[in-house]
Amino acid sequence: MRPFTYERATSPEAAAAAAGRTQGAKFIAGGTNLLDLMKLEIETPTHLIDIRPLGLDKIEDTDEGGLRIGAFVTNTDLAADRRVRRDYAVLSRAIMAGASGQLRNKATTAGNLLQRTRCPYFYDTNQACNKRKPGSGCAAIGGYSRQLGVIGVSDACIATYPGDMAIAMRVLDATVETVKADGEARAIPIADFHRLPGDAPHIDNVLEPGELITAVTLPRPLGGKHFYHKVRDRRSYAYALVSIAAVVQRDGSGRVGVGGVAHKPWRVEAAEAALPEGAAAVAPQIMAGARPTEDNRFKVPLVERTLAAVLAEARS
């Protein structure tokens, strides 16, 4: 691990200002992804700002009838919250489908949104990777790509966003609240938070230098039945090949998000009107324009089959 200096944050605004003016600074919350990458020297921050002292660890009711989830709320505490289990079960289920108990106890809401891809070529510093080293090329294209992206990919990168929590948040139309280095607060719809790789795959999201996530808000509950189906190579503690987050109403209408297929939580709202007609009417619209590799071509039909399983369970 490269040396770094360390400070404990005193206020969100001061933390954002410090991160904005310090070259190579990063925030640290749970640290479960950042420290892993620092040990491999894939992440090499020169300064860490610990946001734990900020007390952003509460889940509060909002005036609009939703919830405001502090940036530092752990995955376990969020998934176990009585209101989340009752009104946003898709979120509880998505979180519990990810990582291990030990990691969920430490990983935070903001950190989970910011976790880096698990593309094996990103992790192997001997390989070309435009995300790790811009301009070095992409060894995943034409390499071992079974786990990687099939839609929204570019010629520079086929990495996926690896998380589960954000797929559910995308279905729930969550909003990411931040404070920028200049002290200005902003609210970013989760649909706009993560980027597609394009020709700049080293940039995962729209946060500006120094910008700090302070909370994620959920609008009023949607009702309906909540699902998170995750298809993976192992029954527990594995990343998704394909996952489906869905909220389905009694009349068959609903919302669908797809994980494991793209550089961001994947959702095509226009396709959802066809949900009452079944998965075969919806999945081709969600996956229109897919550009799979030979290795991961199976993901495209797998999205439809996983959605069909969800809709069958919703009807039962």
Partner: protein, 212 residues
């Protein structure tokens, strides 16, 4: 644990002793933080926490993980370093009542925390019920993952008691129960290379008062 040949000599004592001999012979001792610590330590920072009920105060390079602080600075070598990347669970300790991977956490970020390691759960003369159950049900072979397995198992039963759902909980609004399926799912972050999994579930079921 005492050696059967010489009750006053422990394996750890022998290892520490030989390292000191090597150092005295002019060879630099291995860096406590392992091969990834490629540059000399920078300025240290003070941190204070409680380990197994005892106040501890350390001055540490900020790169030192909680695991290395426990093993190399406090000589609590029960917690093991397996993968050092949060994948195997050998380093599992309980912090403020919840289990974590101590290898993926900086020690300086634990100011004021209450940390319980395998050494704090029980003693050879007075085993924790989970330690006793692992012995009774033969929940290990080589034993390397066992301290992490036991810390995790103790915390898993508390998580179930506290109503925290898991991927195996059919209805997340229900109170979870300590079924074999629930415990298997919750223990997936602890890898056992010897494959003692079925006996570990037997041990946990015994302590939970359920049948595996």
């Amino acid at each position: 644990m005492a050696s059967p040949l010489n009750p006053d000599v422990s394996r750890r004592g022998v290892i520490v002793g030989s390292a000191a001999t090597v150092a005295a012979g002019g060879t630099a001792p291995l860096n406590a933080q392992g091969p990834r610590m490629t540059t000399p330590p920078g300025p240290t920072l003070p941190v204070q926490f409680k380990v197994n009920g005892e106040d501890r105060r350390l001055d540490l390079d900020p790169r030192v993980t909680l695991l290395d602080a426990l093993r190399e600075h406090l000589q609590l070598t029960g917690s093991k370093k397996g993968c050092d990347h949060g994948q195997c669970g050998a380093c599992t300790v309980i912090v403020n009542g919840r289990r974590i991977n101590s290898c993926l956490s900086l020690a300086v970020m634990h100011e004021g925390d209450q940390i319980t390691t395998i050494e704090g759960l029980g003693t050879p003369d007075n085993l924790h019920p989970m330690q006793r159950a692992f012995v009774v049900h033969d929940g290990y072979q080589c034993g390397y993952c066992t301290p992490g397995q036991i810390c995790s198992a103790v915390a898993v039963l508390d998580e179930i008691k506290d109503g925290i759902p898991s991927h195996a909980t059919a209805d997340v609004t229900d109170r979870p129960r300590a079924t074999a399926d629930e415990m298997r799912e919750r223990m997936s972050g602890n890898i056992c290379r010897c494959g003692a999994y079925s006996n570990i579930i037997e041990a946990m079921s015994d302590v939970a008062g359920t049948r595996a």
